[in-house]
């Protein structure tokens, strides 16, 4: 397969989630089939970010959620052969996907709120304006959604173009796609992109439960999230998971010149929405499928060249149905001459990593191509018409499609090409 010096390649992956730190540890969990049965949410509440950072003092100014993001960036820095002198600071960039502020960021005000209660026990907002002045001066700063962008840029000495997306579950994917565009336009030479979030806390789990999006927890159940499953035993809903994942992107020629290990080629990406408003998605997956086809067309590849699909597969019934319908529209009519691509899911093991979801998968693509088949815990029901094995290695089937979808009817995809060994 021809390789061009100006094509974009992934040269680093940094990832942290509940129970695993680093890509290798995540791959091992998948290989072992380490399903967390009946977990309400995959929390990183006991995660010690400071152990992974060269400058743990950064953590004093940020939230626990930010700390997870910074720890994943530190992993990427460590494993991705990053060096401070590889690229000029103005030619380096960071693109992040983050959640909005957590209500738990308000905890430093609790004491002040209690102190502001009036004789009837209600919080006197006027008095709170006074009592709050005893709170930590930097309380507001910890709630900023762009803290990881700020401190991560310092870590990577990245002074070039940047952004931070608060687009829910698509945030990390948007960050990677925008970063790739900057590289393509020669506006950057090196860019780190991905997302992070921590939604396992009580308010978000309560909120998503009220919205009907979370997997209902039954005490007798031994099942975890069940994407695409049908039948009486199947239950719909997602499992929220804390985590962070970032990738490093650069141009092949420069990466090769500096001796960086190339993990995969970034081919393209696309986004779309159903335009139906909050919490509404098209069950037929029309916009979703058209986005995939448009992205493949722009990249100059055919659906039959996709060997691996890493699906969103959140477990939310309506969204899974939308996704399968979209995939059938794209891949359903390829005919018997083509081997079906493998359809893999990571949500049984890692839950829905929200802002980081779809980024860990980018890092897993090279592992899966090398492995040749999906670990059992990643398989989708074969009745869907997809395979559990990757098609035999041919130049014509060397691409992976990584999908992301949100219950808001918003979609994203990223296409990678396997790296010739």
């Amino acid at each position: 397969m021809s390789q061009r010096a100006d094509e974009l390649v992934i040269t680093g992956v940094g990832v942290a989630s509940a129970g695993a730190y680093g890509l290798e540890a995540h791959w091992e969990l998948l290989r072992q089939g380490a399903v967390k049965a009946n977990a309400a949410a995959y929390s990183m509440g006991d995660f010690k970010a400071a152990a992974h950072l060269k400058e743990p003092r950064l953590l004093k100014a940020v939230s626990a959620t930010d700390a997870i993001g910074l720890a994943a960036l530190a992993d990427l820095q460590r494993t991705g052969a990053w060096s401070a002198d590889a690229y000029p600071a103005p030619r380096s960039g960071l693109y992040t996907g983050s959640p909005g502020p957590s209500s738990f960021d308000l905890c430093p005000y609790f004491e002040a709120m209690e102190a502001a209660r009036d004789g009837d026990g209600h919080i006197d907002v006027g008095a709170f304006g006074r009592t709050a002045m005893s709170a930590r001066p930097t309380t507001l700063l910890a709630s900023l959604a762009n803290n990881v962008l700020c401190y991560g840029s310092m870590m990577f000495n990245a002074q070039g173009p940047n952004s931070n997306y608060t687009s829910g579950e698509l945030s990390g994917h948007l960050a990677v796609q925008q970063a790739a565009k900057r590289l393509r336009r020669q506006q950057l030479d090196y860019v780190v992109a991905g997302g992070f979030g921590a939604h396992s806390e009580a308010i978000d789990t309560g909120m998503y439960t009220s919205l009907g999006l979370l997997l209902a927890q039954g005490s007798e159940s031994t099942h975890t999230v069940m994407p695409y499953e049908a039948g009486e035993d199947a239950r719909g809903g997602m499992v929220l998971a804390d985590g962070a994942a970032f990738v490093a992107l650069e141009r092949r020629g420069a990466a090769t010149a500096r001796g960086a290990k190339i993990l995969a080629t970034y081919v393209g990406g696309g986004i779309a929405s159903d335009g139906l408003g909050p919490l509404r998605s098209d069950p037929e997956g029309v916009a979703y499928s058209r986005m995939i086809l448009r992205t493949l067309t722009q990249a100059g590849i055919e659906p039959a060249q996709i060997a691996l699909i890493l699906a969103n597969a959140s477990g939310i019934r309506a969204l899974d149905r939308c996704e399968i319908n979209a995939l059938q529209r794209v891949f359903g009519g390829l005919g018997a001459a083509f081997e079906s691509p493998a359809l893999g899911v990571t949500t049984r093991v890692f839950g829905n990593l929200m802002e980081a979801s779809g980024i860990l998968e980018l890092g897993l693509v090279p592992r899966l191509f090398a492995h040749g088949e999906l670990p059992a815990v990643m398989t989708a029901p074969t009745s869907l018409g997809f395979s559990n094995r990757l098609p035999r290695r041919t130049p014509a089937a060397s691409y992976a499609l990584v999908l992301k979808a949100s219950p808001w009817g918003e979609y994203s995809c990223i296409v990678l090409r396997r790296e010739d060994q």
Binding site: A61, A89, P90, G93, P99, G100, P101, S103, L106, M113, H122, I123, V125, G126, F128, G129, R130, A132, M133, A135, R136, P137, T138, T139, L140, L141, S143, L144, A145, N146, L149, C150, Y151, S153, Q159, N162, S163, N164, Y165, T166, S167, G168, K181, I203, T205, G206, M207, S210, L211, A272, S273, G275, L276, G277, P278, L279, A287, W408, G409, E410
Partner: protein, 420 residues
């Protein structure tokens, strides 16, 4: 001529609609007239009881009514106050753009917004958070504190299927959203993008948060004169709120459908200061490069820029470093552009500031007038820029630039060109 003659690999991007909600008025016209009058509507805070807080003043949107029929009751539950402003501003911008169904492929119509933190309020904390009612069914209302809700509603409102993007980089949020919207069209990814920002931090948590940082003015006895960018006596910013939305469009499409073009966007720059979370690098590292990048992007000579709408928050550090940065890029001689910060009239609209201030640049170009610099009683000699006059002044303008500088180190600059 669909492509920029100076940048043949890029399409030309024009503005065909603008809508605004600010303390000066709930539409662009009222806001602009307030600017021309040099009016400061700052006053004592009424949105909550700020009587015992250090800063008790703000630029509040008053008498705001979301027109009936724009959104459903169901959608309203997903939106907070600022998002309501955003919906109104989108409706105004789309009405001006007069984009009819069928004129743009929905898959080529996208939404790209800069949004504020949208955090919870004291009332919610008292009802739900402090008593730990984490299984309360009303917790679904918490979704309105998630910033991406507005983009979803806007996409439904305008029929966009080209993807929704929400950006938060503090005070640079909507400047960054506009920049990315401009690039989506310039590089052929979309034909029309509804872009802008919305924010309201006039609530107790946000105000005390900025108070604790020492960033807000304490001139409670003179609210209308408290925001005084580049004045020697400035002592902090005054909070504003509102929204500003713009319709960015591929020039070829706008021309083909006979749209009225308001201005052309011809340059975007974005950088990271990598210095401190709240402070600017003393030599302007970041803003300098962002402005230069925006000029280079459109091939615009610095000498052609006649007006700069500065970020100009009225804090000591921002105004001094930004002024030095402007001087570095544009010089200080007689040909240096005129500078003003309209935050003295709108307040600091935080995530919506960049969009509002580019809209003001566009109106300055359209109507050939320099917005006034109010509340400058004695210009700080450490701020070596040529401020606009105290009253709106007719002039000849071809290019204008808008700066945004955010906590967290993100800096943006956008260049607009007069449309003749």
């Amino acid at each position: 001529m669909p492509h920029d003659p100076l940048r043949p690999n890029k399409r030309r991007v024009v503005v065909t609609g603008i809508g605004a909600v600010s303390a000066l008025g709930s539409n662009l016209n009222d806001t602009w007239n307030g600017i021309l009058e040099g009016r400061s509507p700052a006053a004592a805070v009424t949105h909550f009881d700020a009587s015992q807080a250090p800063c008790k003043i703000a630029y509040e949107v008053t008498d705001f009514v979301l027109p009936a029929g724009l959104i459903s009751d169901r959608e309203r539950r997903f939106l907070n106050t600022a998002m309501g402003y955003g919906v109104k501003a989108v409706a105004e911008a789309m009405e001006q753009a007069a984009l009819l169904p069928g004129q743009v492929d929905p898959e080529r119509l996208a939404v790209c917004l800069g949004m504020g933190l949208c955090g919870a309020d004291v009332d919610w904390c008292e009802r739900i958070f402090l008593p730990k009612k984490y299984t309360d069914p009303s917790l679904d209302e918490h979704i309105r504190f998630n910033p991406e809700q507005l983009a979803s509603v806007v996409a439904r409102l305008v029929g966009a299927k080209g993807g929704n993007t929400t950006i938060h980089t503090a005070c640079a949020s909507s400047g960054q959203a506009l920049g990315e919207a401009y690039e989506m069209i310039a590089y052929g990814e979309a034909d029309v993008v509804v872009t802008g920002g919305a924010d309201s931090m006039i609530n107790s948590f946000s105000m005390v948060g900025f108070d604790l940082l020492g960033a807000m003015s304490k001139r409670n006895d003179a609210p209308q004169q408290a925001s005084r960018p580049f004045d020697a006596g400035r002592d902090g910013f005054v909070m504003g709120e509102g929204a500003c939305m713009l319709v960015f469009e591929d020039y070829a499409l706008a021309q083909a459908r006979g749209a009225k073009i308001l201005a052309e966007i011809c340059g975007y720059g974005v950088t990271e200061s990598t210095y401190r979370i709240t402070d600017l690098h003393p030599e302007g590292r970041g803003p300098v490069e962002a402005m230069q990048m925006a000029l280079d992007d459109g091939g615009t000579a610095a000498a052609k820029v006649g007006y700069i709408n500065a970020h100009g928050t009225s804090t000591q550090i921002n105004d001094r470093v930004e002024a030095l940065s402007i001087a570095k890029v544009f010089g200080t001689g007689p040909v240096a552009p005129k500078v003003s910060s309209t935050k003295s009239m709108t307040g600091h609209m935080i995530a919506a500031a960049g969009a509002m201030e580019l809209a003001i640049c566009i109106n300055a170009l359209r109507f050939q007038v320099l917005p006034p610099s109010i509340n400058v009683f004695q210009q700080d000699p450490a701020c070596p820029v040529a401020l606009t006059n105290a009253v709106a002044t007719p002039t000849e303008l071809s290019f204008a630039l808008s700066n945004s500088i955010g906590f967290g180190g993100s800096n943006t600059a956008l260049v607009a060109r007069r449309w003749l």
